[in-house]
């Protein structure tokens, strides 16, 4: 969710409508996501992918691109619930 927020923010800030090249936006999004994840000690590799997805979206998602955060939150919460049930079964 954090990375999605970061990616959406970067997508808003460095949108290609303003003439920012594509690669610069994606690199800035991933770098910012990495930095945020490291500072909050929530390092998770798909977070970088999420930020990259959000930053390189050709057309921003609704809610100014922040609906991706909602989607990511719901999906990861569901998967985390299943993982909580399953991974505590052993030892």
């Amino acid at each position: 969710m954090l990375s999605a927020a970061v990616g959406a923010t970067v997508r808003l800030a460095l949108s290609p409508d303003r003439g920012v090249p594509h690669w610069l936006a994606s690199a800035a999004a991933v770098a910012a996501a990495v930095l945020m994840m490291m500072l909050t000690s929530t390092t998770h590799p798909p977070g970088g992918a999420t930020a990259l997805l959000a930053a390189t979206a050709a057309r921003p998602a609704p809610w100014h691109g922040y609906r991706l955060v909602f989607s990511v939150g719901i999906g990861s919460a569901g998967m985390q619930a299943v993982a909580l049930l399953v991974n505590n079964l052993h030892r």
């Binding site: 090249p21 594509h22 690669w23 610069l24 994606s26 690199a27 800035a28 999004a29 991933v30 770098a31 910012a32 996501a33 990495v34 930095l35 994840m37 490291m38 500072l39 000690s41 929530t42 390092t43 998770h44 590799p45 798909p46 977070g47 970088g48 992918a49 999420t50 930020a51 990259l52 997805l53 390189t56 909580l84 505590n88 079964l89 052993h90 030892r91």
Partner: protein, 336 residues
């Protein structure tokens, strides 16, 4: 291995276990001096084996044998002090070889050739009868797999309490009635340490590295992928995940570059196959439509996608139908 654990006699693996004509001869030799703290190198057939001494029971294992592989295997597995002689057709070699050691007495190994077999068995049995009397040796190394299998019995404390604190995070030792609550208690977490905060220099380095890496890939994407040189995008979303793995996880097992390269290449090859199979249902339409023209014949020959296509019945059709559908699809050219 179970036999060796139960009977105290090292049952060797490999061919000697299969061959029943006693190519393996167990000669229980008098115990060499058991030393706890000393570990000495034995020179057996050019291979030096470390002699191990179990702490509590002060046992040691030494082997003299002709087959180096079997020796290594059995020396890893055996923690008893039975001298194991694996030899084919002559048992004198063991005697000659092991006479170089200073520790064992010399009358160990030289022995009667003929009745060493049954003598060895006999002595092995006596050792087996003698072994369980001693305190059980703590399992060491690879032999722990068999001996650690039975769970330690739960403590015989009176079970007045309905719930035992010691079973909080251990479901295996817990009795059955303690499982649901232990399961719920485990969900509270606290079993793992959180990820440590990075040093500032490492954080800056990781940020810079991921920026440069994604910028490099994005530059490649802009230079090649969007032009006619390489007609496919280069910058993929999962490269963001790879950037996190490569730059910001300091010591990880999946950090290596070979993981990065080979997993992506292999996964993309596999997904190419999958895309061939179920094209038209899922996939990257632009690239697929372009690659279909190039690799049409190849894909049709390698991947019989008409089996998987949803328009055909699920059960495999009879042969003429299959052939006709294949020919139709190849002739029309839109579905492969």
């Amino acid at each position: 291995m179970i036999f060796s654990f139960l009977f105290g006699v090292p049952v060797s693996t490999g061919e000697s276990a299969i061959d029943n004509t006693s190519t393996m001869e167990k000669s229980s030799l008098p115990r060499s001096q058991s030393v706890d703290d000393r570990s000495m190198g034995l020179e057996v057939d050019g291979d030096s084996m470390r002699e191990r001494s179990v702490h509590g029971a002060s046992r040691e294992a030494s082997f003299h044998g002709g087959n180096a592989n079997t020796d290594e295997r059995s020396s890893r597995r055996c923690d008893r002090d039975v001298h194991l002689t694996i030899n084919k057709n002559d048992s004198d070699k063991g005697g000659n070889r092991s006479s170089s050691k200073g520790l064992d007495d010399d009358d160990n190994d030289g022995g009667e050739d003929d009745d060493e077999v049954e003598l060895g068995h006999h002595r092995g049995l006596t050792v087996a009868a003698r072994e369980p009397e001693g305190p059980p040796a703590p399992p060491l190394g690879a032999s722990a797999s068999a001996s650690a299998a039975p769970a330690p019995p739960p403590p015989a404390a009176p079970r007045a309490k309905f719930y035992l604190e010691e079973y909080d995070h251990d479901l295996y030792g817990a009795p059955l009635w303690a499982w649901p609550r232990a399961y719920l208690r485990k969900m509270r977490g606290g079993l793992d340490t959180p990820m440590p905060l990075p040093e500032p220099s490492f954080a800056v380095l990781a940020t810079l590295g991921s920026f440069l890496g994604i910028a490099c890939v994005g530059g490649l994407d802009a230079a090649l992928g969007r032009r006619e040189i390489l007609d496919s995008p280069v910058l993929l979303a999962s490269f963001g995940a790879s950037a996190v793995l490569l730059f910001s996880v300091p010591e990880s097992k999946v950090r290596g570059g070979s993981f990065f390269l080979f997993s992506f290449v292999g996964a993309s090859l596999f997904s190419f196959a999958e895309e061939r199979k179920r094209e038209g249902w899922v996939g990257w339409r632009g690239g697929a439509a372009r690659e279909k023209e190039n690799s049409h014949a190849l894909a049709c020959s390698r991947f019989p996608s008409h089996i998987f296509s949803p328009s055909l019945p699920t059960l495999s059709p009879p042969e003429p139908l299959r052939r006709s559908s294949l020919s139709r699809s190849t002739s029309s050219g839109d579905r492969c």
